[in-house]
């Protein structure tokens, strides 16, 4: 940590327990008040060039290299785009249900991991607890039953992925126009064995999260919070659909900005702004412009945007959640956790529904139709809406790829959350442990995937800097 007189810039790098390499800078004005805070994210745009020149049918497997955290989401988004390239977007019932099972399995394991591994230490020990205790091992020692549940739920989701995608990593299950395998009776029965336990644990996790939020609402409501637009996929009837649907955007009051937009035309509605200080772009709704058109994605946005959820327990939970704000969109950043658990329960309800569907054992796996040269694949990934856009030439080679990943969609909101926390909790020109913890907590609400970088031994994951009006760095802290 370095410190200088008269200073005014804080840098936090790297942000622990937030993937990849991130840096937060807090700029002060001449009165040493917070002017703005920025979350700098290293994003490797080179991946889009890496895909260019590759045969299109390789892309659903290749894109899994992009991210070790949500490879299944990239796999499915790319497969959906390539379905259209081969004219096979109207999947057979077996293909669509196997893919959906894979997708809900990914949601289940991702949300369970985030809650038990990352969020539960904050809730169970408090934001100010020593980081040496406020972690998954601390939870394992003090609340072993809860920690075992988290591990076993994550494992269950991974088993679903292994069965539907062929293996845990670099799955090959989804191919252009369908899937390459169904789910056998033996595989189905293997998953049914632990299903009821998973449902029960999901209910308990939702209750824990809901009770905590309600009990601490006074403290949580203003924490890193702000009004925003929200974007998500919805079904034709307005219900939540994590796998497929049309785009809907609403403003902070719930008014629709656009609705039932075919995502093949996303570029008519969404644009990306480049800012000199960040590698990551800033998407916005074109009709509102970059200043007012930024939006949130992910669990909070999805629950705010949809009219209903098509599984009974998650729908009851959604209604309870929306009652908190009398049906209006909830703009509390920390409410992401509650909505994530609503989706956890929804995912296991959908998994149950699918495992009892005999279409999973069907033999009709692939369809093809009229070839196209351009397509968009869009899916709701665990951390938000994920766009994959490709152009393919007549030699079947990819000539253009544009990906807008979930974390990029949440870029501006995460910056706003960090700024709000800095405004509310920075005192003087020192980065205190309390401020550092709170910045982490605010970023974590969005469950970002900050980098798809390597992790090799010796690599450091996060940094926070406090910068003076003069540009001088007055404090710097690394959360190693």
């Amino acid at each position: 940590m370095t410190k200088h007189d008269g200073g005014q810039r804080l840098v936090i790098e790297p942000v622990t327990r937030v993937e990849g390499h991130g840096k937060v800078t807090i700029d002060l004005d001449e009165h040493r008040k917070v002017k703005r805070a920025r979350l700098h994210i290293v994003e490797f745009r080179g991946f889009e060039r890496f895909i260019q020149g590759r045969p299109f049918w390789e892309v659903p497997v290749l894109v899994q290299r992009l991210c070790g955290i949500c490879p299944v989401s990239h796999h499915l988004a790319a497969a959906k785009a390539m379905d259209r390239i081969v004219g096979g977007e109207n999947l057979t019932p077996t293909a669509e249900k196997v893919r959906r099972l894979m997708h809900y399995g990914q949601f289940f394991q991702s949300h369970a991991l985030h809650f038990f591994h990352l969020v539960s230490p904050d809730l169970l020990f408090g934001f100010d607890a020593d980081p040496a205790i406020r972690n998954v091992i601390g939870v394992a020692k003090k609340f072993p039953e809860l920690a075992v549940q988290g591990v076993m739920m994550r494992k269950y989701g991974q088993e679903i992925i292994r069965i539907t995608a062929g293996k845990k990593i670099h799955g090959t299950g989804a191919i252009p126009g369908g899937v390459n395998k169904n789910v056998s009776i033996e595989e189905r029965d293997f998953l049914l064995k632990d299903l009821d336990q998973m449902v029960a644990w999901s209910r308990a996790a939702l209750k824990l999260c809901k009770d905590y939020t309600v009990e601490h609402l006074k403290e949580l409501a203003p924490f890193g919070s702000f009004d925003s637009n929200h974007l998500a996929l919805v079904r034709a009837d307005g219900a939540m659909d994590l796998y497929h649907g049309n785009l809907r955007a609403i403003d902070a009051a719930g008014k629709k900005i656009f609705d039932q937009v075919d995502y093949q035309n996303y570029a008519d509605y969404i644009a990306e702004e480049v800012r000199s200080w960040s590698y990551m772009k800033f998407p916005f709704i074109k009709s509102l412009g970059p200043a007012k058109g930024w939006y949130r994605v992910g669990p909070l946005a999805r629950v705010n945007v949809c009219d209903s959820i098509d599984t009974p327990e998650a729908e009851a939970a959604r209604k309870e959640f929306m009652a908190l704000t009398n049906g209006a969109p909830n703009n509390i950043s920390m409410a992401y956790h509650w909505t994530r658990m609503i989706e956890l329960l929804h995912s296991i309800e959908k998994i149950k529904e699918l495992l009892h569907d005999h279409d999973l054992q069907g033999e009709d796996l692939v369809v093809k139709g009229a070839r196209r040269n351009e397509a968009v694949g869009l899916i709701e990934a665990p951390r938000g809406t994920l766009f994959h856009h490709y152009r393919v030439d007549d030699n079947d080679q990819v000539v253009m790829a544009n990906l807008i990943v979930s974390t990029t969609n949440n870029n501006e909101p995460m910056n706003r959350a960090v700024t709000k926390v800095a405004e509310d909790h920075l005192s003087g020109v020192t980065i205190t442990e309390g401020l550092l913890n709170r910045i982490e907590v605010a970023i974590r609400a969005y469950d970002p995937c900050l980098s798809c970088a390597t992790h090799a031994l010796g690599a450091m994951p996060l940094v926070v800097e406090l910068r003076a009006h003069s540009g001088e760095i007055v404090d710097r802290r690394v959360q190693a």
Partner: protein, 179 residues
């Protein structure tokens, strides 16, 4: 149920980032060896659910790429409650601590680090140097895995995070491997 004689080998890293794929590449080759009692797994990174698999084995060998140090090094590692826990991954020593806290597991554990040189490119192949190191590591480890001679083969016990170089001879070779 733990089987003291059973070995779990986990190679981890991102094969799409050139030499970061050394761990999975080692795992793939180890799987082809088809050694009885050795279970092989591979992943982008270690995650909490690996604690459950660890608890079912008497010996665990983690394999990862290393940015520095000798061509390869095998060293004993111990659980560490303050080990690195990232958002969606967990360090081997922290994972061992988690397996201990959750399941009472205390497997004998090792880290095999293999030196890589390029971690930034989006390419699904190893550099020539990393490929050579992988071959050397495989030649060294094949009899170790078959004979379960981990203790004799490993460098001194050291906390995870110490560079492999610190555990090796000045000539850059692993002490045990160069004997």
């Amino acid at each position: 149920m733990t089987n003291a004689g059973n070995v779990l080998l986990i190679g981890y890293g991102n094969p799409g980032r050139r030499d970061d794929g050394l761990g999975p590449a080692f795992a793939q080759a180890a799987e082809r060896m088809d050694i009885p009692g050795v279970t092989v797994d591979a992943g982008y990174q270690l995650t909490v659910e690996d604690a459950a698999a660890i608890a079912e084995h008497g010996v665990v060998v983690f394999v990862d790429a290393d940015r520095a140090g000798p061509p390869f090094a095998l060293r004993r590692i111990e659980p560490r409650e303050d080990g690195r826990v990232a958002s969606h991954s967990i360090a081997p020593d922290a994972l061992l601590a988690l397996a201990g806290a959750l399941f009472g597991a205390r497997p004998e554990s090792y880290m095999l680090s293999v030196r890589g040189y390029d971690f930034e490119s989006f390419e699904e192949s190893l550099t020539d140097g990393a490929a050579a190191n992988l071959e050397a590591a495989l030649r060294f480890m094949a009899p170790v895995l078959r004979e379960r001679s981990f203790r004799a083969a490993a460098c001194e016990s050291a906390p995870f995070g110490a560079t492999a170089a610190a555990l090796c001879n000045g000539d850059g070779q692993c002490k045990k491997a160069s004997r």
